[in-house]
C-alpha cells in the first residue's frame, strides 16, 4: 500500500491519473449519449412509472364507450377495483371526493371494474351506494387486468396529461390526501 500512497501523494503522477480519468469518462459519456426519445420517455406502453399508460376501450356502467387515450390533456387516475374487495370499498369515498374537488381543474377518474371477477349487478349497487359520479368502465374479459399486470386490488395508476404514468400505487386503501397531493402535481401540467 505504501507504493499506492506515494502515487496518491505525488501531485504530478496523481494529477495525470485524474486528468486521464476525466478524459476517458468524458469519452465514455460521449459514446453512450442517446436521443431523449431512446430512453423511456413515454413511448412504450407498460404499467409503470415513466411509460405510456396502456390504452383500452371499454363500455361503462352507464352504457357509454370510454377510450383512455381520449383523455389526453387531463390528469387521469386509473383505478382497478372490484366490489368484493374491502380496501377498494374503503378508498372509493376518497376517490369520489378527490374527483369532486378537482374535476373542474381537469381531473378524470377512470375506475375500471374487474367485471370478469365481479358481476355487473354488484358493481352497479356499489356505485349507487357510494354515489360515484366518475366513469366506471367494465373489464369483462380481463384485458385491462392483463395490460396493467394486475397483481393486487385496488391498483391505481396516475396518468399525466401526456398519457405517461407518473405514479403507481399497488394495494390500498389510499387516503384522500395521498390521491389529491399526487393529482395536484399532475394538474399543474394541465393546459
Amino acid at each position: 500500500m505504501s507504493k499506492l500512497n506515494q502515487l496518491i501523494e505525488d501531485p504530478i503522477r496523481w494529477g495525470a491519473i485524474v486528468i486521464g480519468v476525466l478524459i476517458l469518462g468524458a469519452i465514455w459519456i460521449g459514446t453512450s449519449q442517446v436521443p431523449a426519445s431512446a430512453t423511456t420517455s413515454g413511448s412504450i406502453p407498460s404499467p409503470r412509472e415513466g411509460f405510456a399508460a396502456p390504452d383500452f376501450t371499454l363500455e361503462t356502467l352507464e352504457g357509454e364507450t370510454l377510450t383512455l387515450s381520449d383523455l389526453r390533456g387531463k390528469a387521469v387516475v386509473v383505478n382497478l377495483w372490484a366490489s368484493l374487495c374491502p380496501p377498494c370499498r374503503a378508498e372509493m369515498p376518497a376517490l369520489q371526493s378527490a374527483y369532486e374537488a378537482d374535476r373542474d381543474r381537469g381531473l378524470e377518474i377512470v375506475a375500471v371494474d374487474m367485471t370478469y371477477q365481479d358481476n355487473e349487478e354488484d358493481a352497479q349497487r356499489f356505485a349507487d351506494d357510494f354515489g360515484l359520479t366518475f366513469a366506471i368502465p367494465m373489464d369483462r374479459d380481463g384485458t385491462v387486468a392483463r395490460q396493467y399486470l394486475m397483481r393486487a386490488l385496488p391498483s391505481t395508476f396516475f396518468v399525466g396529461p401526456d398519457g405517461v404514468i407518473r405514479k403507481v400505487v399497488i394495494g390500498g386503501p389510499m387516503s384522500e390526501a395521498t390521491i389529491r397531493s399526487t393529482v395536484s402535481e399532475m394538474l399543474e401540467e394541465v393546459p
Partner: protein
C-alpha cells in the same frame, strides 16, 4: 423479478425487505469494525438509527409541507403512510444532517468514522442492486445481445445484474483492503470513487436515464464529477496526513 412475495395472507414487498436486510447487515458490519477504530459500536449504531428515523420522518414531513393545504383539510392523513407520499431527496439530506450532527456532538472524528461505515455502506450498495433486481427498477435499454432479459415489454440489458456484479466486486475489494489503508479517509473515498465509476459505466446501458443537454445522461455527468472529486480528495487527504504525522 419478484416484487411481491405472497406468504399466505401477507403480501411482502420484496424490494423493501431486501433494503431492510441491507440496513441490518450494514449495522452488524459496522459493529464488528468499530473496535479496530477504538469506537463504541453503540455510538455508531445510534448514529445510523438516528439518521434512518429522522430521514424517514422528515421525508414524510417535507411532503406534507409541500401539499400543506391538502393535508390541512385532512390532518389525519398525515399518519397514512404510503411510499409515494414521501419526499425522498429531502429525507436523505435531512437524515444525513441529523446523523452528522449526532456524530459531531459525540466527538466522532470525521474521516475514521466514514471509514468504519464503509464496509456497511458497500454492503448496502449490494442490497440496492438486489432490490432493483426484485422490483425491475433501474432497467436497461433494449438490446439484441443474447443475455438480454424480457422486461417491461422489450428485450433489455439486465442492468440490475450488472449493478449487483459491480456492487459485489466493490464490497469484496473494500472488505479485502479495509485493514491495509494508507491513511484515514482512504477506504471511504475508494468506495465513493468505485461506486461513482460503476454508475458511470452501467448508466450507459440504462433505459430510464434522465437526459440533459440534448442527449447526455445526467447521472453519468454527476458520477464523473463525484469520481474526480473523490480522487482529488484522496490526494489532499494523503498529503495533509503526511504533514500532520510526526514521522
Amino acid at each position: 423479478m419478484l416484487p411481491i412475495l405472497q406468504a399466505g395472507p401477507i403480501a411482502i414487498q420484496m424490494p423493501g425487505l431486501i433494503l431492510l436486510a441491507g440496513v441490518w447487515v450494514a449495522v452488524s458490519l459496522t459493529d464488528r469494525e468499530a473496535p479496530r477504530y477504538s469506537m463504541k459500536p453503540s455510538t455508531l449504531s445510534n448514529m445510523i438509527l438516528i439518521g434512518l428515523v429522522v430521514g424517514i420522518l422528515s421525508a414524510r414531513l417535507w411532503y406534507v409541507i409541500r401539499f400543506f393545504d391538502i393535508y390541512l383539510e385532512n390532518p389525519l392523513s398525515i399518519l397514512s403512510l404510503n411510499p409515494t407520499t414521501l419526499a425522498p431527496l429531502e429525507g436523505v439530506l435531512t437524515g444525513i444532517a441529523a446523523a452528522t450532527f449526532y456524530g459531531y456532538r459525540k466527538g466522532l472524528p470525521l474521516w475514521p468514522t466514514l471509514d468504519v461505515l464503509t464496509p456497511g455502506l458497500s454492503a448496502f450498495g449490494l442490497a440496492v442492486g438486489f432490490a432493483h433486481l426484485a422490483s425491475g427498477d433501474a432497467f436497461g435499454v433494449e438490446t439484441t445481445m443474447p443475455w438480454g432479459i424480457e422486461l417491461w415489454g422489450a428485450l433489455r440489458h439486465p442492468t440490475q445484474i450488472y449493478e449487483v456484479l459491480a456492487a459485489g466486486f466493490i464490497f469484496w475489494l473494500i472488505w479485502e483492503i479495509r485493514r491495509k489503508t494508507p491513511f484515514s479517509g482512504f477506504l471511504f473515498l475508494t468506495w465513493v470513487a468505485l461506486t461513482a465509476l460503476s454508475r458511470l459505466l452501467i448508466e450507459a446501458f440504462r433505459g430510464d436515464s434522465i437526459i440533459a443537454y440534448g442527449s447526455l445522461r445526467s447521472a453519468q455527468m454527476g458520477s464523473l464529477v463525484v469520481l474526480v472529486i473523490a480522487l482529488i480528495g484522496m490526494h489532499l487527504l494523503s498529503r495533509a496526513q503526511v504533514q500532520g504525522s510526526p514521522s
